[in-house]
Subunit: 119 residues, 2 copies
């Protein structure tokens, strides 16, 4: 399989999109947490919040923290960026990314992201 | 060492005190959680709350959930109740129990709880 080429401009678009998705998802969690607390009537509801945070933290760790360093480096290889297509499709599906965030990527990359987001 | 005798009335006092401490500590956690959320400005503060809840849950599990069943049984042995002295001293130290909660226990039990709470 031939390697997809990512231009420097595309790498910058990808980094910005990745950062935006991270900010949206974490800000949404902060808002959601504040709402959840309002509904707490007993300690069991607190343990449910704890379970939910455990799950979200695990997900956000895997999605962003492990990747942020990788994609913040200027000399990150094309092959590394190509795996972003799958992550972006996931983020697009969950609406942490929108089409506007992808402007600047080649049409084939955007198409792949959108198509994969329907899987 | 001779076994301390716990009368049925003392066992009831102990069960009530235990339940009160549990309610006070868990209600305090609910209030504290609501206050912590108000201060959240970024996702790292959410992870700090998550760490705090992990620690409190572990503590409350060990303190109460493992014991509630044991002390809810009418025929729980004296020897089991005697270990409550140490737990009550801890709860007294942390102000989840007060002297009024111990009224009905023999003077020697109350003295032990109070003295141990200073350690």
């Amino acid at each position: 399989m031939s390697e997809t080429i990512w231009s420097d401009q595309e790498k910058q678009v990808a980094r910005n999109a990745f950062q935006k998705a991270y900010e949206r998802e974490t800000n949404a969690l902060i808002t959601q947490l504040a709402e959840m607390i309002k509904e707490v009537e007993n300690i069991y509801a607190v343990w449910e919040i704890h379970d939910y945070l455990s799950s979200k933290r695990h997900q956000i760790d895997g999605r962003y923290y492990l990747n942020i360093k990788k994609y913040s480096e200027e000399n990150t290889a094309n092959s590394e960026y190509s795996t972003l297509i799958f992550l972006f499709a996931e983020l697009f599906k969950e609406k942490w990314l929108c089409k506007e965030d992808l402007v600047g990527l080649s049409d084939d990359k955007i198409s792949k992201i959108v198509v994969l987001s329907f899987i």
